[in-house]
């Protein structure tokens, strides 16, 4: 080993010891008589000192070390005269007696500091330097910690890790499959899995009982800022379980992770139905770190000759605590915000609950002080609060108010990244109408089971059929979801019928799974958590890219290795394909 210690472990207890350290030159300060070097490795930073009077050659050598040079030193640990309380090694320094340059370094294209001067593009191109920066390194180490703790928890619960294949089969519906030409099977292709869904269900048929995997999945879709063509999932499936068993198991996992990784003890997770989530938050992934729950106000707002409200399907408000002090300008800005295309509301009605018990609204023409008092009662608004109201078509209005609610929370500093507010959203609809294809699609996937009592509505009111499907939401982010699957062949056939699959289509797409189910499928269900997202949330951030060692950009490119790239004709020939 080229070191006796790391750069993060020496302290007052090591004083007097001769040690060897290796690492990178973080900083080199030449103070004339003395030269100080901050030596960095994954574990921390240790100060090295060189004294011109005592060993001038060594000191000369040290002075010449550039940033990011890799060196090995031997020296004695001494107590610092001026201590640095901000780092664990801040009580000591090393009087260097020997210095070896292990490798030189070009000047890095951006500073290797917590706050760097490097832009996003440059940092991605030199990702191997970006990772030397503490915030990026710590994100990756947090990810590793979440991974091992996930495994320990699931292993303790009797889950068996099984690796499912990466070279699988493309399906006609798999328009977003990445495919892989087979050299040995001319003209044929493998597909990379969008998820191991089919295989984990096969493992349940196989009797594996409790399966998990932390696994890469692939989707060739147009990328939004927070999507990656390859992403990682915590993928689980259990047999002989009901929904409650799954919720308990994965609430346990989440609690374990928050405790082990963040030191946060969580209470029992609240639960909300999909319908209630839409009603109270206008979203199926509500952020419940703060209030401002929706209050439906048709009753107290309509039939007052204010046509905007009277003609609306829904009048819905939120109570902004202590918001009465908002200036006219602030409220105007909020009004502008809701009118932007991405929110799409026509206007914003407000009502200030003044400290003196009076009310001031933007619609005083239509509503008396008594009316406004009724609003305040309905919204449980007290003196000093501000009621904000949107109205219109139900779904659209809820969505708009949800956006406003999150925007306000952001502005008011209510979205504390170090607070964790998990929530189960239950009873998702089984089906959702697809405008494009003009038919119902499975909201989750075609193997999701309907609530038994709702099955009869499949014919009469398909949209009202609820599923045994659930999502885990933390801080307004969908961390993952799952469902109890259909294990009964007849019910599965019924579902395919309602999803508009012919027998042939169903067979072509899911043939081997349907066949497997004929050989004794147990009741089963599972979840998949988005691992990148989970890590980002636990790291107090929302951008998943910062929690991936080598991410791709929004065009699906790895700018560091310059991929994808062209390949030569010989290779194309061997694969029996050519470019169009």
């Amino acid at each position: 080993m080229l070191r006796t210690h790391t750069c993060g472990e020496l302290d007052i207890n090591n004083i007097g010891e001769e040690v060897q350290l290796s690492g990178w030159v973080q900083k080199n300060r030449d103070l004339g008589g003395m030269t100080f070097i901050d030596l960095r490795d994954r574990y921390g930073i240790t100060q090295l000192t060189f004294n011109m009077d005592e060993s001038s050659d060594l000191c000369e050598k040290a002075r010449k070390l550039g940033r990011e040079y890799v060196i090995k030193v031997t020296g004695i640990v001494i107590e610092r005269s001026s201590k640095n309380k901000s780092i664990p090694t801040g009580d000591i320094e090393i009087i260097v007696s020997d210095l070896i340059v292990l490798n030189a370094s070009k000047t890095p294209p951006f500073t290797i500091e917590d706050e760097t001067d490097g832009g996003d593009k440059l940092r991605m191109k030199y990702r191997y330097l970006d990772i030397r920066r503490k915030p990026v390194k710590e994100n990756l180490m947090l990810r590793a910690k979440v991974s091992i703790e996930t495994r320990k928890y699931l292993d303790n619960q009797g889950f068996c890790e099984v690796e499912t294949p990466y070279l699988i089969k493309s399906t006609p519906e798999g328009a977003r499959d990445f495919v892989v030409p087979s050299r040995m099977n001319e003209g044929q292709f493998y597909a990379l899995p969008q998820s191991p869904q089919t295989f984990k269900q096969l493992l349940m048929v196989a009797g594996m009982d409790k399966y998990y995997q932390i696994v890469k999945c692939f989707r060739d879709e147009d990328l939004r800022a927070d999507r990656q063509p390859e992403f990682t999932q915590i993928d689980c499936e259990m047999s002989f379980v009901e929904q409650e068993d799954i919720l308990n198991t994965f609430e346990g996992l989440t609690r374990h992770l928050l405790k082990e990784v963040k030191g946060v003890e969580l209470h029992e997770f609240p639960r909300i139905t999909y319908d209630d989530a839409m009603k109270k938050y206008g979203s199926d992934k509500p952020d419940i770190r703060f209030g401002m729950k929706f209050v439906e106000m048709n009753e107290v707002c309509q039939q007052n000759n204010f046509v905007v409200f009277d003609s609306a399907e829904l009048v819905v408000g939120i109570n902004v605590k202590d918001g009465a002090s908002f200036s006219r300008k602030q409220i105007d800005k909020l009004t502008d915000f809701v009118k932007t295309p991405q929110v799409g509301a026509k206007g914003l009605v407000y009502c200030k609950c003044n400290e003196d018990g009076t009310f001031k609204s933007s619609v005083d023409k239509f509503f008396s002080q008594e009316d406004l008092n009724n609003w305040a009662d309905k919204c449980k608004a007290a003196s000093g609060d501000l009621i904000l109201i949107l109205s219109g078509e139900k779904l659209k209005t809820r969505k708009a108010l949800s956006t406003l609610r999150l925007h306000l929370a952001e502005e008011l500093g209510l979205r504390n990244p170090e607070e964790f507010a998990p929530l189960w959203v239950l009873d998702f609809p089984l089906l959702e109408w697809d405008e494009e294809t003009n038919r119902y699609h499975a909201m989750h996937h075609p193997f999701t089971s309907p609530k038994p009592n709702d099955i009869e509505k499949l014919d009469t009111d398909p949209a009202a059929v609820r599923a045994n499907a659930y999502d885990l939401v933390i801080n307004g982010n969908e961390i993952g979801g799952g469902s109890i699957r259909i294990h009964d062949g007849e019910l599965q056939k019924l579902m395919f019928k309602h999803l508009g699959f012919s027998d042939e289509e169903a067979k072509e797409q899911f043939g081997f799974l349907i066949k497997a189910f004929e050989h004794g499928a147990p009741p089963h269900g599972g979840v998949a958590f988005g691992f990148d997202r989970l890590c980002a949330i636990m790291g107090g951030q929302e951008n998943i890219r910062d929690f991936i060692a080598f991410p791709k950009n929004n065009a699906g490119r790895d700018v560091m290795i310059d991929s994808p790239s062209f390949i030569d004709n010989e290779q194309l020939n061997e694969l029996n394909i050519k470019l169009k």
Copy 2:
């Protein structure tokens, strides 16, 4: 939960309890008055009993259950009158009071027993049924155990798991890359990694210090029986280390795994140089569970007018303990064996060391009793032993004798799969001559560092240059290997020159890595273990396919899901490719 217990956990301590079990019908025995069902899940088998006299309806229902039906039962645990000592639940049975059929099953196409009547092809097609069989299930569970124990060990040693990308870049030398057309980057391709080699070295440049990953790798090559197009590696890299540090770390891992998974305590691993391994075993992956080391016999065999020996570069023998009792027929069979094309020797010379102190050889015409006595001395053969000798060109003869040695060990039952004999093979040659391209290739890979003292031989005697490269061998199987990498830019350039890369070629293939190395690369090295092979060896078997949940056949096909397969033109169009 659809059960209070699993089928593997009830015993004498549960007597009198009411329990619920769910599982598959393994066996259904109708004895008239009584019906017995063996109920199976991942955890074991529990006997259910139904009494015709006491509950005829239930018993009738039970009688009708076919093999592999999925059922849930409620009942009371009682002590069995005739106990089954071969299973953990053998002391008890369940008197069933309620039976629910959760799912019917078609009759499975082969028996779900330890020894099945299903052929290989059928088992692969119905892999989800094959996995229900105990030996297959246990292989997969052993694999999961090896995986979690690997992670625990490396995590404890400070290794950080980092996920490297799967969609990377094809290189001109990557003829065996699987490639993935990019929809968004027209005409361009990603490649699937043959290993994360480049990325793990970048992670060392990035200061991650100790990296590991259990990761899928891909190679589109013609498959031998024990190769898979996708395979799994334990991939590791460490910074600021020397060879000794790596050997110690991964010897520790291997010892940990054998202890935790198999309960076997291993001693310090023996080490052998590549040269010695070739000399003493004719192989760079010797099986040292047994003796029969090679003895070079030129000195005692040549110059006796036996032209076969006299003209041979090498005369080399092994001593088969107690082999003098081999019959003429047995020795003829061995002779036939060495003459087969896969061994390729011209003949086999034997010498029996008789119990009475005399010798009997196949070349008595040329060698006196005294000569033969010298052979025996040289081979440390005692009365009752048998010396077998091959001769000819050195490399070929060693290889042939190695094959014979393993064959004999197999025949003599010396290859006990429950014995584990690990071995480090060190000092591999840096380069190997490639007949096809008429130049030297890196034996390991182009970043492997030469032994410092051998660098000067790069010009004069390239084949003699040894590398800081090592393999771990267990029971004659290469489990993995690695090397100390070159971290010095100048040395790397020298290496590229000797490997026949022009500057442009080196830049094109390894450009970003070379560039990264200019920014302060630490000394580093690592290993990769073949995870499938390691699991197979630990499971006492040599076929890796039995340790993969969903393996592909020798044509790279998954016969269960029927992949690879054709994809439609629309999809090809979107990917900007067409078939040749």
